[in-house]
């Protein structure tokens, strides 16, 4: 059921802090994936180089 809040929602300090914290967690997760995918690329490239036809 749709209903409106009474009053106007506000960006309180608490909500802004939560948004910053979510953004920080997302940033760390993305950075972790960047590192992981770089390592996988190195591992896969490395094995291909070792197994290349001479």
């Amino acid at each position: 059921m749709k209903e409106e809040f009474e009053g106007t929602p506000e960006w309180s300090d608490e909500l802004l802090a939560r948004r910053r914290k979510r953004a920080a967690v997302m940033g760390w997760v993305l950075a972790g994936f960047v590192v992981l995918f770089f390592l996988v690329t190195v591992v896969k490239l490395g094995s291909n180089i070792v197994q290349r036809a001479l």
């Binding site: 059921m1 749709k2 209903e3 409106e4 809040f5 929602p9 506000e10 960006w11 309180s12 300090d13 608490e14 909500l15 939560r18 948004r19 914290k21 979510r22 967690v25 997302m26 992981l36 995918f37 390592l39 996988v40 591992v43 896969k44 094995s47």
Partner: protein
């Protein structure tokens, strides 16, 4: 952990849930969610079982003739498979939010408690699903990626949308989704599928009905009130308990097959037989339980079923390690 409504300065949970408000206020309401709330959408407890069975599939695959993969690739595959399983959990919570809100066990989940909007959960689930499948394909192999995609589709669409609200066989057929992870793990490690991962699939597939129906017997009233056709709701307690016993026997048979077919040794044979014997005895105890003892027997079987699967799958690498 999930947010507690009491620490919200502007809104508390007595205000409308994130989906009960207009678009103008939806954005700011969704700001109540923390990263932990999004993690909760992934069903971490289910994910832990997925991670474990996937890991066992990968370990066993790496001991075979096809060999294994580099530890970094194996870790990446495990992470992506876990994320894919978690994504299907988020999609399940998105679709089932109406049921979850009415059940004691699930009403504190992020969507029914109003911490995350349905739209956000859907976007989160779809993004993670597509991302995990694509990355698994690119960085590991496309067979495991295809199997992961099918697993997500099976859980989120076949089980959640088609089966759960429409047939008492929902858990029986839907159990396939939970049975795929060791097969996906094996495929990630070798690029193929062999007999052992198929047996692992069968063990989890026939384990799921006794496991879930033991819980359904305990939550029968809530499932009945929400018109969810779980087996105890449709067939009654006595019939369900008979089916639990029957599935337990079939499961015990499949649990013995890896040793009988030469894919596991003496240690696994003895260990799995002991574990399965306890499972069957507990199922039989539930089957003959009086009304007064049924709840205790259901609770005990449900708890043991989780321990059983962890120990049984741990028995595979332990058997290789011991080597008898």
């Amino acid at each position: 952990m999930a947010n507690n409504s009491t620490d919200l300065p502007v809104f508390d949970t007595s205000v409308p849930r994130a989906d009960d408000v207009s678009d103008a206020t939806k954005e700011i309401v969704s700001e109540m969610a923390s990263a932990a709330d999004y993690f909760e959408l992934l069903k971490p407890r289910v994910m832990s079982l997925v991670v474990f069975t996937t890991l066992i599939g990968m370990i066993m695959a790496s001991t075979g003739a096809d060999g294994g993969v580099h530890p970094v690739v194996a870790f990446t595959a495990l992470l992506l498979i876990a994320l894919g399983a978690g994504a299907s959990g988020a999609l399940n919570m998105w679709y089932d939010a109406d049921i979850d809100a009415n059940m004691e066990r699930t009403r504190t989940r992020p969507i029914p408690s109003g911490r995350i909007s349905k739209d956000s959960a859907l976007a989160f689930g779809l993004t993670l699903s597509a991302g995990s499948v694509m990355c698994l394909g690119v960085f590991v192999n496309w067979l495991s990626a295809g199997l992961l995609a099918f697993t997500i589709f099976f859980y989120a669409v076949v089980y959640t949308v088609w089966l759960k609200r429409h047939t008492a066989q929902n858990i029986v057929i839907g159990g396939a989704a939970g049975a795929f992870p060791p097969v996906v793990g094996w495929a990630a490690a070798t690029g193929t599928v062999d007999v052992l991962p198929v047996l692992m699939f069968a063990i989890i597939f026939f384990w799921t009905p006794p496991h879930f129906w033991a819980l359904a017997l305990l939550k029968n009233k809530e499932y009945t009130e929400n018109n969810i056709p779980m087996m105890p709701v449709v067939a009654g307690s006595k019939n369900t308990r008979f089916q639990i016993l029957a599935y337990s026997l079939v499961m015990a048979g499949f649990a013995a097959l890896p040793a009988l077919l030469g894919h596991a040794g003496l240690f696994y044979a003895l260990f799995s037989t002991a574990l399965s014997a306890v499972f069957v005895v507990m199922s039989f105890w539930l089957f003959i339980a009086t009304d007064a003892r049924q709840a205790a027997a259901s609770k005990a079987l449900f708890a043991y079923s989780i321990l059983y699967l962890f120990l049984l799958f741990a028995g595979f690498p332990a058997d290789k390690l011991i080597g008898i």
